[in-house]
Amino acid sequence: MARDLAIDLGTANTLVYMKGRGIVLNEPSVIAVNRKSGEVLATGHDAWDMIGRTPSYIVAVRPLRGGAITDFDITERMIRLLLQRVGVSRFTRPKVVICVPSAITEVERRAVTDAARRAGASDAQLIEQPMAAAIGANLPIDEPVGNMVIDIGGGTTETAVISLGGIVALEAVRVGSFDIDAAIQNYVRREHGVAIGERTAEEIKIQIGSADPVGDERSADVRGRDLVSGLPKTIRLTAEEVRFAIDEPVASMVLSVKRCLSKAPPELAQDFLARGVYLVGGGGMLRGLAERIARETSVPVRMSPQPLEAVVIGAGHCIENYQALRGMFMGSHR
């Protein structure tokens, strides 16, 4: 009998939690496919290393964008491989809880559950990412107090107010840390006439990116291809330039948080001032982001101790207490 699983099927990373064991898999949501034969050549870290470096017959893609499945067949194959790697076979069919963005459409929901069932799950249930994140961040959501969680992933930013085990207010935008990478790529192309890949843009974000001025302002040498000559070229980017480049997606994230705060009932809103709001997700690790949200909303912002794993740990808790927490699954009638 297979152990039941919780899957955080993120735009950037996929994590799998196995009942009774914890997180058993954590790797990038990337798959490399042979364009001619359709065969899968690599997944996860191996496929991630191939992005932007493949010959023409190999394509390394992220099958999810903005938390939604853009390529159903590839996603199904990716889920099938994931389940195989954690021991699921045609004779052992586990129950699966999958974390998805709260803003996905009915069609997208069905695409995810169908992909999981076809990949070998006996039952596939969906849970909203901010709810799973709040459980995984160990917020006191069982109490009648306002808990606010901001989950910034690769493709989405979701802010939720949670009290007594349910979502009170929710705001989601399809802007995430990949949009920050894209903004850096566009800026370097526009202002310096140099083309850089998405992995280089991500490195720049990690090295010198910030949403608000931070004490240690650095600059970095960036290598790319000159758009005019077509030759390799090195340019120097400052932290201030990067901050300017990424201001638009960062401003969208902050605005989404403000909108959610304005939707919260007054009784719960006062709790945020005392308890603060919690940031989870890899995008939340951008330097200066917590400070900027705090500055613009006048609410203290705290980073979850496990920002990358909070969502799958929360979903894992739901799989550990499947019957008691059934009401949290999307489409259930509580």
């Binding site: 085990g165 894992g316 808790h317």
Partner: protein, 90 residues
């Protein structure tokens, strides 16, 4: 001819007819009473079921909230703590 046929009816026959009518009436009364009792029983069963459903929903909500308590989450959290993140940042 019609009058003669009516006049042919014997007294025994008319007594039997009256008895039949009386029995029909009694059966009808019993049927009404049985239907009434049945309905009352159904109403009682429904009310009892509704009361137990309310109890069930309270218990289910209690279980739901209890499953989200820090004590209930402790084990799942400890599973998460034991895992090493690969340090990648997206």
């Amino acid at each position: 001819m019609g009058d003669r046929r009516t006049g042919d009816r014997s007294p025994e026959l008319s007594t039997n007819g009256a008895t039949m009518n009386a029995m029909g009436l009694v059966a009808w009364v019993f049927a009404v009473l049985a239907a009434g009792c049945g309905s009352a029983l159904l109403v009682l069963v429904y009310l009892d079921h509704r009361a137990s459903r309310i109890d069930d929903s309270i218990a289910a909500f209690r279980r739901h909230i209890d499953a989200l308590s820090p004590e209930a989450r402790h084990e799942s959290m400890s599973h998460g703590d034991s895992t090493q993140s690969d340090g990648r940042y997206f």
